[in-house]
Subunit: 246 residues, 3 copies
């Protein structure tokens, strides 16, 4: 039972590792994930995945009814992880090889890219356990798939297979199971070779978009660009572009 971290150059891969329980997260695992997400200094791209064919079955709820007073703390740590994932300044990729349920689904959906195996699925199964949605579902889903499908998914808790999830805009790409590692590596390497300042600036703008008017967004993007253009990568890329076009 662990959260494993492998660093490979600028690409960091975090693996949720409790395959006998579909990687359902104990409090200790959430804490380990939180720590991992706050120590990514050399990382340019983050990949998160699950061991043994599942992505993550959500928070482990065994023991919860014996100690209901623990709920606020338990939700707090999982929420901090989902929020930290979303606010990382580097691009994030969820590699989803199998079931992603409850908080496990939302941890994946909070990433910038979600690549899934053909037989993976996503389930907001809260309502099926008599619970209300949490871990960001009510915020993420309407913005990913629109109000109508978000309501269906949250109020019924049905599984959505990866191909349907792709059709409705919930995820980025579906690949055959044996091509998933390769597809994620290829994407991660591509992101690794882009300008970190440009990616961080773009993410910052995307992360705040729902709190801004169009005019405010234009101003924020302009202020952002004034900083980003001072990066060496911007100079190199603009020079290359101008040479190509001249």
């Amino acid at each position: 039972m662990s959260v494993d971290i492998v660093r490979n150059g600028g690409i960091t891969e975090i693996t949720l590792n409790r395959p006998a329980k579909r990687n359902a997260m104990t409090d200790a695992m959430w804490s380990a994930l939180e720590e991992a997400l706050t120590d990514l200094r050399e990382t340019r791209v983050l990949v998160i995945t699950g061991a043994g064919g599942s992505f993550c079955g959500g928070s482990d709820v065994s023991g919860l009814l014996d100690d209901p007073g623990s709920l606020p703390d338990r939700i707090a740590v999982s929420n901090r992880c989902v929020l930290a994932m979303r606010e990382l300044p580097v691009p994030t990729i969820a590699k989803v090889g199998g079931p992603a349920a409850g908080a496990g689904a939302n941890l994946a959906l909070a990433c910038d890219f979600v690549l899934a195996a053909e037989d993976a699925y996503f389930a907001q199964l809260f309502v099926r356990r008599g619970l209300s949605v949490d871990s960001g579902a009510s915020w993420l889903l309407p913005r990913l798939v629109g109000e109508r499908r978000a309501r269906e998914l949250c109020l019924l808790g049905d599984r959505v297979g990866a191909p349907s999830a792709l059709d409705m805009g919930m995820i980025t790409r579906v690949v055959p199971a044996d091509g998933l590692d390769g597809a994620v590596t290829e994407l991660a390497e591509r992101l690794h070779d882009l300008s970190p300042a440009a990616l961080a600036g773009t993410k910052r703008m995307l992360n705040q978009t729902w709190q801004t008017t169009f005019a405010e967004a234009l101003n924020a993007e302009a202020a952002n660009q004034v900083e980003v253009i001072q990066s060496p990568e911007a100079h190199t890329a603009i020079n290359a572009f101008n040479v190509r076009r001249s």
Copy 2:
């Protein structure tokens, strides 16, 4: 000319009943609907539909030009109905067997689920009558089908057939006309058997999502969950889940 209410266990069905005018709503009908929506104490699932093959042709505008000063009051009551429909703590299903136009379309679209017969259609026909959109169209459509399609629908007022409406995420499901009642009943019964506290909590979160940051949504969901988990349904469901998985 009436608004009919049938209660069947915890499932309440409201029928807009003026089939000779495609169930176009008079002021009296809007008032009757408003009253019905404020008296749903035993209801666990609400279904709304129209009599005689149409859903609802919108507000009856005959007489409006003879008495333009009545417009504010007339819009006020229809707006209160659309808002009440959206804010109900129980799941709502629009059963759309035929045309849903103007305020009639938006009354349906404000529901959590919209099931439509194959030859039903939706039309924001305001602009075709020289009017601006109302009854919530400008808010609902961008969040259902995205900015691009929302602008096309609102600025042109064209009919959208049920299959196209499904493709663009406006509605939940399309069924053959003779299967519509059965499909709605099946969905209503399924929702009836879920925890009212979980459904109400989930709706509350979905209804406020566009006013919150991601961090605020996570906090609100957590506070909500602390209440919902005290419901007997949560205990039963979590126990059943733990037994199944152990």
Copy 3:
């Protein structure tokens, strides 16, 4: 190198005209466009397009690295154009016959309608030049195509062909290249014949939707309607409707 304006009755067509550089916009061209957008008094429908098969390659970045201090002013004028385009009270149509990249893509996407030739494409290529997104991309794309696809497009900068852009809700319609002029003319004439008050009122509501709660939107729509119904077009249209239905 120019921005050309042709007025034909109430339909104004603006052409970005620098075909040797894919209509990449110099500061002077942005200023000319800004002036054109503030002088549209007789216009009922605005069409914007590019000369020579391209739509617009974005802002011309040659010379930028020699004078980086000019960036704030350069972004300011292009931002004012994109914002003005979005806030025009008349319907706007982008006629996209070929590449639309960077600020050129977002100038098109800020229009109400986007009609594109089959081999046109859209590219948020900022990140490929080491730059952060600007010209409204971070605001427009999540609302057009959802969070997931917006992140992919902004963080990778790939081209999206017109058919894919249509599938994901980014644009309104795809037509064969030799039918593009005709399709735009037909749409422009149709919009020209609708009530300007109804169209302006509807656009005002759509433009402010992301800053309002549902209740606020209902109230704003009602207040708006009280004004719009006083227009002669509303009277004519409602009368015609009542005659038809009686």
